[in-house]
């Protein structure tokens, strides 16, 4: 009987001992990289909106407060996207013939809502609530980044579960005094390292067990 394996098989078997783990590791790395990339999480991407609304213009250079448009952010889970009427408060008199604003005027005339595309979109099985975060001193900029410098909004963070948990485990690293929540340029004071711990105590932030329990976010 002739030999089943050719002599060269020895080399192949040795190479594959090395190659298989490398391949597996590469696949693992690729899966992790792809699932953490903006392509999957939406991080850093902008979307084409019906009107190229610029926060950099309205917030950054004109100083309009977030709450002028996102009226419910302090009281409800949802931050609210302003209705066309809010735009028309000013645009009934400003840039009234600009073609860029025609969709806004048409929407106001015909009483059809503007269809904005969501930039931040958590899966529907996650429960998120703005009001509790605002009430406990988490700034808009902590989660949404420098919105006042964004010509088009993009998603600053991954919005993955690990991102939520990182803060829910260490809120003292992120929270700020309540009256600074809407201040987009607030900096953590360098001369007061104990501020985070103090605020966690003052604002009676729930303990880590409650904040990381599954049913807090998956209800």
């Amino acid at each position: 009987m002739s030999q089943i394996f050719a002599r060269s098989t020895n080399i192949w078997s040795k190479v594959s001992i090395l190659a298989v783990p490398i391949l597996v590791a590469f696949l693992g790395w690729a899966v992790v990289t792809i699932s953490w990339s903006g392509y999957v999480t939406g991080q850093g991407l902008t979307r084409d909106q019906p009107v190229q609304f610029s926060h950099a213009h309205h917030v950054g250079s004109m100083g309009i407060d977030c709450r002028y448009c996102h009226t419910t952010v302090e009281e409800s889970a949802f931050a609210n996207i302003p209705p066309t009427k809010t735009c028309m408060n000013c645009h009934s008199q400003i840039w009234t013939s600009a073609p860029i604003l025609e969709p806004v005027r048409a929407s106001f005339r015909d009483n059809t809502p503007l269809q904005w595309w969501r930039v931040h979109d958590l899966p529907d099985f996650v429960y998120f609530n703005h009001s509790i975060h605002v009430a406990k001193g988490v700034g808009c900029a902590t989660c949404h980044g420098p919105v006042d410098r964004m010509p088009l909004v993009y998603q600053e963070n991954t919005l993955q579960m690990s991102w939520c948990l990182d803060c829910h485990r260490n809120p003292q690293k992120y929270i700020r005094p309540r009256d600074q929540v809407f201040n987009m340029s607030w900096q953590r004071p360098a001369d007061d390292p104990g501020m985070g711990e103090r605020l966690v105590k003052d604002y009676k932030i729930a303990d880590v067990r409650q904040l990381t329990s599954c049913s807090t976010c998956h209800r």
Partner: protein, 204 residues
């Protein structure tokens, strides 16, 4: 040979399964969340306007002075609830959010939007506006006035009163007689002003 074929089939089936795992059914569930669109209604929005003249439980607006700023057609002259420091603080905050873009922080009518071409509102520090009853402010916020849009949807009735009270405080700040100032503060008037501290002018 046979085992190789079944291996191929098996791995193909596995790949299909893995791909099917990427379906987003639970991510995008067929339910309405706020502002999600709807194929059911003509204008595409899932939130429906209230049928006209319906009143939800507990929202009957029967307190005429509180909800319209008028009694028997005339503007009321007093705040419909007691004035406290909290009310004024709330009024200051709401004023700075909703009014200062046009009326500016001091009420002089030189806000950012006016500087970009909006019609200039009158200053709050003129005699006519100092003398109108406080209900007038409530009415202007609720229903607009001339070229000014209404803020009915953005500002709740209680906050409108708080803003009105704060406008009164602004007016007083520009129009107080020295005699009305408490004695210990009046002394400071004659001293030279302290150097402006850094960051004191920043608003929240």
């Amino acid at each position: 040979m046979k085992s190789r074929r079944s291996f191929c089939l098996l791995s193909a089936a596995f790949c299909l399964l893995a791909a099917a795992g990427c379906r987003q059914d639970m991510h995008n569930q067929p339910k309405y969340i706020p502002l999600r669109d709807s194929a059911l209604f003509a204008n595409g929005s899932s939130a429906r306007p209230l049928v006209e003249d319906t009143v939800a439980r507990g929202t009957l607006q029967d307190d005429e002075a509180f909800f319209t700023g008028k009694t028997g057609g005339a503007d009321v002259n007093t705040l419909p609830f007691p004035l406290t420091k909290e009310v004024l603080d709330r009024g200051e905050q709401r004023y700075n959010i909703y009014c200062s873009p046009c009326h500016d922080m001091t009420g002089a009518g030189q806000g950012m939007i006016v500087r970009r071409g909006y019609r200039q509102p009158p200053s709050f520090h003129i005699d006519r506006l100092r003398q109108v009853p406080i209900g007038h402010y409530f009415d202007v916020i609720s229903n607009g006035f001339g070229a000014m849009p209404d803020y009915r949807a953005q500002v709740a009735p209680r906050d409108r009163w708080a803003i009105a009270a704060y406008v009164r405080a602004l007016q007083l700040s520009q129009h107080a007689a020295a005699a009305e100032i408490p004695a210990e503060d009046r002394q400071k008037l004659s001293q030279s002003p302290p150097a402006p501290s850094e960051g004191a002018a920043k608003h929240e």
